[in-house]
Amino acid sequence: MTDAPQSAHQTATDDPVEALRKRLGRLRGRELWHAIEELAESPALHRWFEETFPRHSAAMAEAVNRRQFIQLAAASLALAGLGGCTSQPREHILPYVNQPEMVVPGHPRQYATALTLGGLARGALVETHTERPTKIEGNPLHPASLGATDLFMQADVLSLYDPERATSYLRGGVLSSPDAFISDYLREWDALRANGGAGLRLLTGAISSPTLTTQIQRWLDIFPAARWHWHEPAHGTGGRLGAQLAFGRDLQPVFHTDAAEVIVALDADFLTHGPAMIPQARGFIDRRRMRAGTTTMNRLHAIESNYTATGAMADERLPLRPARIPAAARYLADRLGVASGGGDDDGLTPFQRRWLDRAAADLRAHAGRSLLLAGEYQPAAVHALAYAINQQLGNFGTTITMIPPPLTGTPDPHASLAELAEAIDAGEVDTLIMLGGNPVYSAPADLDLGNRLLKVRQRVYWSLYHDETASYANWFLPAAHELEGWSDARAFDGSATIVQPLIAPLYNGWTPHELLAILAGEPRVPGQELIRRHWSGRLDGEDPEEAWRRALHDGIIANSASHPEMPPMATDLPRRLFEAWAREQPAAPETLEIIFRPDPTIWDGRYANNGWLQECPKPMTRLTWSNAALIAPATADRLGLANRDIVELELDGRVVEAPIWVLAGHAPDCVTVHLGYGRRLGGRVGAGHGFSAYEIRATSNLWQAIGARLRRIKTGPPLAAAQYQIQQGEREFALQGNLENFRDDPEHFIHLHHAEEPVTDLYPEGAGLFKNEPLSWGMSIDLTACVGCNACVVACVAENNVPVVGEREVVRGREMHWLRIDHYIEGPADHPATIFQPMLCQHCEKAPCEYVCPVKATVHDEMGLNVMVYNRCIGTRYCSNNCPYKVRRFNFLSYANENETRALQYNPDVTVRMRGVMEKCTFCIQRISRARIDAKNEGRPVRDGEVTTACQSACPTRAIEFGNLNDPESRVVALKQEPHAYGVLEELNTFPRISYLARVRNPAPAAEEDVSPS
């Protein structure tokens, strides 16, 4: 793995082997053996082993050694023989011993449950084939899902089957058993009870589960002296702490984007980030579905430092270095007549002031229907000020409400983690029980939790993976995946869902409930009973059994959402703010700021071992398999840096080596790094990619810090980007225009060069097959609605058994995604306008790929689909060469994963492709066939909307519509008749079946004239 950052090895603590030699050198006889026994227990040694003998990298090595050579010889000979062979290996049918009712082999079933991100639930419907979860869809009844999913939900099913999940109970790194842990724990029970659990500490992740909360409460009642800390590396505290500042109460804001006509986002990626992303994006997009006759749409002003997908969706965007964002908030406050408690010197340029003036005017003009949306990673003061401004505008109750936080425990976990560290130093911690979160890896570097842990006697760690923290624990307990056990969870708005298992635990791991039950001294209580016990009597409905069934069936507990509260604004807010501003560090122009953010695809690192997410190109950068230090072109010029440069990134004396990625649109004078990479343990897929930003992140400044330094040290290998060319120039791929032009003339508000000359066709009558077919499939994609969140990409991968190829193959340009989100930017590098374009097989009527195939491996069928017959393909790749959209993907090597655990996820209705065949989007033909056969069996036509493609059903904003073009009533036909519908590369007479609706932007009046100074 040439791509592994050096830092991974540099920052490893002093070589334990040396230490070992030193220690053993002096000893003799019995002492020596004692010493060795101690050492065998030493986590440092364990970690050293793990790091010195890493598992092989997933990517295949090129070099051929003798053994491989023999294998190859055999393989090629077999290949030669295979040609004539036609008989198949013998297969078995294994019927049930006792077939469950309702289970019909061949018919998938769906169960409602919920998956959590940062502790908060998103409702899901899990598709199971003979009780084997294979695909995750959104739950329409759930407020955080609305029938759609984000990319993490899609990928969770792969984590479930991850062959590298922790499989065994380890005591001191030695194989042990659940019972052993229970007895170990109970042995200490009396001692713990005696001193009320002093020295007993519990460290969990973010928790919204009502059951777990009560369980922890019970545990704390048993051990009054014990303490509960929680740690969520990607958790932003701004909202709740800001509420404490503004209202003196711990409340959580909920944003109702569907009610807002004007939104000003303060460093908030509310469209593609976090557990509330789906409703926020849906609401925002619902106000800008441009159809013929639409004259109005909402407007988004975005102020941000990093260039996020939300920034790309914004009609007006102001790149601002972090230190200026509070200033911008204060400026807006002043303009809107809110006491900001800040001085006048805000260091904003005249252009920035004018920009803010427009935003302020827009907010005022839409008072009551506008929203100032502060990002969760902004400091409390900014949030408090934002609350004040929203109240001044009268937005509370319409576009923003405050509710009791769905997450339980202290509002400031980061502080509580710091307390824990101090407590350890003070020797107050004797037994530490950690529930996931991988704190050793993800805790702020200043806490140096790894070495601190060694001071704790009993270190219990419960986790899905045997990760960095696991190698420090002397008791490791494998966790049950969320799809494996009973639980419950609340959504961003407080509404609760019962989480039900879709499959028995693969590695008999415990759910947190089962573990807490043990800790509370009642082992062996089944998870389901724990959950039911909690909810008995809490579910409304006279018949409890019926109520329980309903809750399970709906995947949401009726009216469990929290009720909004509107406490009065603290009278002394300006003074509090003044104090807060006073604590701000001044940011000199030349100093560089650093921004820490969770990674768009692997979050805080918990998804590091998920190949789907690793290979999913990140929005804006289009990078895969790695993070990078993102800087603006201007900054790159100033520092003399370019892509592929490896820099030493220094903050407060801590150093990490990071590759540079120049990102047009990023704010100048600051660098963004994403958390979650630089993993060393926890799976072959995740380890050895990117760098760990945690290593330079301190409790004092978790999200942004002033005074970072970049020093170029060398040129590194190319980063695995899925796209290098982001200018489309004259080419008419992703088209966009402004609202007023759309109002005036929707037909021509986008200019199409080829529109002038008429389409001439040599063979207008075509093949003359397929007269009056009932079904003819087509798709429409609304570019105004695509927020570039990648949910569709991962959904496609999950549905269609698309293989993961690994970083090295992506670098070579061999990623296998059937659906990709192309990015195209227009305008200057410091103020670019990015537009997302989902690109997939266009199923051309006159497909260039088909007539060049020598073996009829790709042909048209009677439903107008451009079908790919894998078993006929011989792999000439001519079709790919002749595809103008380059949406065909080729299995250059054996990419399909043969691991039998992982294979459990494969969709049985989709062929797993072999080496050497071409593949591409099929419009989810397996779903079409199912619908068609069902319709036939019921003797009726296929209904509109009966077939949804994986990408369509996953899309949070419903940007994708799919349907029957021969059904005049179908929605897709209506969309294709929209004035601003167009086909990409129509001028080639490919007659694509996918039409795009051009993107409509809604810039603020007088914004065009006002160009930025730079």
Binding site: Y763, A767, K846, E850, V859, H860
Partner: protein
């Protein structure tokens, strides 16, 4: 010299000349004498010999043409049968019977058939392969592929008569003159020494 060799029927007489011109002259002379079973042998093709021998033009080219057209027809039919008749599929929405696309293969198959006919037809009409031939037993005949120019009159020629024929040939001043014998199993490779030149 015929006595004592009666059990061996003679195949004919073979005269060797040093220069092509002599051969041509000889052929003309022998033909003038009315001999029909005459053949000339040379290391390279000597065009002038053929009219002298009164050979009719070969009909090979007609066979080749026929084969060529047959092949082309077959090639076209194969494509039409496969793409139009037997399993019609919508491929790039091209017309099923897209004849322009069928032409290259039609042409190639035609050429293939024609070429093979030309080559094998030539061999067949020449009665090749024939690795054994009475002539190969004749002394010096190996020079027929190097620098010798031979003339043969077969014994089954109605005008073939000893010793007249032999005298005739001798009169043409051959480098050597041989009586070539039909062989029988018992006397394989029977040959006679060349006559000393006068």
């Amino acid at each position: 010299m015929e006595q004592g060799l009666d059990n061996v029927r003679s195949w004919g007489l073979l005269a060797e000349f040093a220069e092509p011109e002599q051969l041509i002259a000889a052929v003309r002379r022998v033909r003038a004498e009315g001999y029909t079973q005459v053949e000339a042998y040379s290391p390279f093709s000597i065009v002038e010999v053929e009219p002298a021998l009164g050979l009719p033009p070969t009909r090979l080219r007609y066979a080749v043409a026929a084969a060529g057209f047959a092949g082309a027809g077959l090639g076209y039919f194969m494509q039409w049968f496969a793409l139009v008749y037997q399993y019609p599929l919508n491929i790039g929405d091209k017309p099923l019977h897209s004849w322009p696309a069928f032409l290259p293969i039609t042409f190639e198959v035609g050429i293939l058939f024609a070429a093979l006919t030309a080559a094998f037809g030539m061999l067949a009409r020449n009665g090749l392969p024939r690795v054994h031939h009475p002539l190969f037993a004749a002394p010096h005949f190996e020079r027929a592929t190097i620098d010798g120019f031979f003339l043969s009159i077969e014994a089954n020629d109605p005008r073939y008569k000893m010793p007249d024929t032999r005298t005739l040939l001798e009169s043409l001043g051959p480098r050597s003159l041989t009586l070539v014998r039909e062989e029988f199993e018992d006397v394989a490779h029977a040959t006679v020494a060349p006559e000393p030149r006068p």
